[in-house]
């Protein structure tokens, strides 16, 4: 019977482990097992829905914590729901209230509102330190998921503390790391399309705590973070010619890199170990990829072709580089070893493929695709297979990976004289496409790793 993909059998209980054993014991033994073995059904169709969770307001354990408790639980709820993997059950629908952290859970009440996971927490503020503890409940199995955890940090960074809690909850529910306690560096844009002013800015992943890093006197492009999240590479027209600069985020100090007269350097990216930088260098109209040793200052040419080679990105282990080249006539994606050897083409579909970025998990490459007048953000496996387009619009480009490799942020620009850039994010399943909160127009996002 294969209706609805059903496969049925009264097979042996622990089939995989015991099959050999059963065979050894012979048919009679097998018959006994078959008689007593459990009914076996295969389930292949389910639903894809956000998991309903409840985040009741955290308990304020002293008066000083009142405000923070409310705000922290809100940030956690927004983090979770913002992933698209969870749907928050509004507090107004809750039947039960949590009045103390160790209160027994009124499971029936949470089940009644179909909360499948429950985040219970409390906040205690002493002086400048906020202590947040939480526990995560699997409502329908009546079990606590993992241990309760406690985080302490200065009240001034209460949002980070909230993100940390949400990351821990996300991790337990999904089995993969979170990405909430992270930042995004980007280009903040103002002004008309033909005289757009740009400056570097950095914000929390959710748009909070925006800080501007440069003024808008020079065009700045495509900032990239180090894997430690402490330095930014970017391209600036500060000297009227595009050059690569490196900013130390803590000190806000900027140094110029790879400065050669008569050339144009752009599209830099850190090696995973932070010791070198790969970038594009243009000489006499031809653009190739180079590697710069930050300690010695020595540059090494990695590609040597009359075509455009640009937008390089390291694999997470630093052994390979993915980049785009138009050597075949149009932009396509290629991979080579970190020393420039063993070049091979990866993309093969119709249209043009650019701005490849290796996922932090190492298994996927995100890219920008242009085809038939539309732009897409997509992902493919590193051998070019299983290409999946996640978005489509007038102009999408420049993907960057969330630290957990599950979400991609990118630039979307609208068309026409009033066209503006915004940051968008999308789950790698193609679900949960949404605009990121920024004060004004924004482009060229680069997602930091999880903060320590």
């Amino acid at each position: 019977m294969t209706l609805f993909g059903l496969t049925l059998s009264h097979k042996l209980g622990i089939f995989r482990l015991t099959a050999a054993l059963i065979l050894a014991f012979g048919a009679q033994m097998g018959a006994v097992w078959a008689q007593n073995g459990p009914l076996r059904i295969e389930i292949t169709q389910g639903v894809i829905e956000p998991l309903p969770i409840a985040v009741p307001g955290f308990v304020a354990e002293n008066a000083a914590a009142l405000d923070y408790a409310a705000k922290i639980s809100r940030v956690i709820a927004e983090d979770m729901a913002g992933t698209g993997l969870f749907r928050e059950i509004p507090v107004s629908a809750h039947i039960s209230r949590i009045s103390a952290f160790n209160d027994p859970i009124a499971f029936a009440d949470w089940k009644a509102v179909n909360a499948q996971a429950l985040v219970v927490g409390a906040v205690f503020v002493q002086g400048v330190t906020a202590t947040v503890k939480f526990r995560l409940i699997d409502v329908f199995s009546g079990q606590q998921m993992g241990e309760g955890l406690q985080f302490s940090g200065p009240v001034g960074i209460w949002r980070r503390t909230a993100h940390k809690v949400a990351d821990a909850a996300y991790s337990r529910l999904t089995g993969e790391n979170g990405y909430f306690d992270s930042r995004v560096v980007f280009v903040a844009e103002t002004g008309a399309k033909n005289k757009r002013a740009k400056r570097l800015a950095i914000m929390d992943y959710d748009g909070a705590n925006v800080e501007y890093l440069t003024d808008d006197k020079s065009i700045v492009l495509a900032p990239r973070l180090s894997s430690e999240g402490d330095k930014i590479l970017f391209t600036s027209y500060k000297t009227d010619f595009p050059k690569i600069y490196m900013m130390d985020l803590a000190r806000k100090s900027v140094v110029s890199l790879a400065d050669q007269k008569g050339t144009m350097a752009f599209s830099p990216r850190f090696a995973p170990d932070g010791k070198s930088v790969i970038y594009s260098l243009e000489k006499g109209g031809n653009t190739d990829i180079y590697a710069l040793n930050l300690a010695s200052g020595a540059s090494r040419q990695l590609t040597n072709a009359p075509s455009i080679e640009t937008a390089p990105s390291f694999s997470p282990d630093g052994s390979k580089i993915v980049f785009e080249s138009d050597r075949s006539g149009g932009q396509q994606i290629y991979i080579m070893d970190a020393n420039g050897q063993n070049l091979r083409r990866v993309s093969s579909g119709q249209g043009r493929y650019g701005t490849p970025v290796w996922s932090p998990r190492g298994d996927l490459i995100a890219f920008t695709k242009q085809n038939q007048g539309r732009f897409h953000i997509g992902v493919m496996r590193i051998d070019g297979s299983e290409e999946r387009l996640l978005t489509a619009s007038f102009l999408d480009e420049g993907p960057t990976w969330a630290p957990n490799g599950r979400v991609i942020m990118f630039t979307r620009e609208t068309s026409g004289a009033t066209g503006k850039s915004s940051l968008y994010s999308v789950d790698i399943s193609g679900r949960n496409l949404k605009r990121a909160k920024t004060e004004g127009a924004a482009s060229d996002p680069a997602w930091s790793p999880l903060l320590p």
Binding site: H10, D109, K111, A112, S141, A392
Partner: protein
């Protein structure tokens, strides 16, 4: 197998948390102004003890609360199980306590298996019909709940349907469910109002239950039953199994379809990690005579295509499906109880994977 998995799960979880803690501690030394620390403050055993000791649990297990409380009624069916007890005992803690974690508070008073040990007291309600009678509301034994006026309203003599209605009207502007990923890029047109495909299967539970005495049946149930009746003879099962069963024993394919459909309508893979979406997990469980799954018996039998961590996520999603959709009791023929008292469900997300 299960012991091994458990040990492995323990080890992995400990390792993960240790890495967490280690990371934070080193960071404290580097940048004191950003210190965020975490410590274990409540173990799952303590948690179980905390909740197991509360009167609220038994109250939810009364027959009139049968549906929402099913997962809290782990009483084994009267007939002894072929499955050995140790398996049962090892199961209720898929997120095991980290007894090696230095920050873990000891919980000496916690009984090893609070759920199982309570089970005998809960057997009796299980034999009541799963159809909730119109009965008095459960005694408001839990102080925290009793003082909640909103709850008093909810726990009217119709405890089952009322929360459902409330859920649908207030908290659930249901998102479009889909078994197929429709991205912006794959839409034929970029029309914002283009409705995504809806779920192929009905919501796990009816949105409105006008009378608690008659739990609404899903269409698939009705169809399955009608078809089953129409057939004078059950469709023979696989030859290897059929001969060894008594004549009355074999479930019809429709009966099994019914079970499968009712579980898959609650099987939500929407929050699974991409790795967990590759895991094919076989979950074993016992079903009580009233059709309700024995929550404590739900366990991983086998898994493939993934790490233990991913398998645990896959298992938890499957377990949620079994518990949620089994809360009313699976519709299975009582006279064939021997055939379905032990079930293995293979959750294979191959067709649910992102493509």
């Amino acid at each position: 197998m299960n012991i091994g998995l458990l040990v492995s799960g323990l080890g992995h979880l400990f390792l993960l948390l240790w890495m967490f803690a280690a990371g934070f501690f080193t960071k404290i030394e580097k940048t004191p102004e950003l210190q965020v620390t975490q410590v274990t403050i409540l173990s799952t055993q303590e948690f179980d003890a905390l909740n197991a000791g509360q009167p609220e649990l038994p109250s939810t297990n009364t027959p009139d609360m049968a549906r929402p409380a099913a997962e809290l009624t782990p009483a084994p069916p009267p007939a002894p199980k072929a499955r050995p007890t140790p398996v049962l005992k090892s199961e209720p803690s898929p997120t095991p306590t980290l007894e090696l974690a230095p920050k873990l508070m000891p919980s000496p008073k916690v009984p090893e298996q609070p759920l199982v040990s309570e089970a005998p007291e809960q057997i009796k309600p299980q034999d009541a019909p799963r159809v909730a009678p119109v009965a008095a509301p459960p005694p408001p034994v839990n102080a925290a709940i009793a003082q909640d006026t909103a709850l008093a309203v909810i726990k009217s003599p119709d405890p089952v349907p009322v929360p459902e209605v409330m859920v649908d009207s207030q908290s659930m502007a249901p998102e479009a469910a889909t078994t197929q990923i429709i991205t912006e890029a794959t839409q034929t047109q970029n029309i914002p109002s283009l409705a995504p495909q809806t779920s192929a299967h009905p919501k796990p539970r009816p949105t409105v239950a006008p009378k608690p005495e008659v739990p609404p049946e899903t269409i698939t149930d009705l169809v399955a039953e009608a078809l089953a009746e129409a057939l004078t003879e059950p469709i023979p099962l696989e030859p290897e199994a059929a001969p060894s069963r008594p004549a009355v024993g074999s479930l019809t394919t429709f009966e099994m379809d019914s079970l499968r459909l009712s579980v898959q309508s609650c099987w939500n893979v929407g929050s699974l990690s991409t790795e967990a979406l590759n895991v094919v997990v076989t979950i074993g469980l016992s079903i009580q005579k009233n059709g309700m799954p024995d929550a404590a018996s739900i366990r991983i039998v086998a898994f493939e295509n993934g790490s233990e961590v991913a398998a645990r996520q896959a298992f938890e999603a499957g377990r949620r499906a079994i518990i949620r959709c089994g809360a009313k009791g699976f519709k299975l023929p009582k006279e064939k109880y021997d055939q379905w008292k032990d079930v293995e469900m293979v959750f294979n997300p191959k067709e649910m994977r992102m493509k």
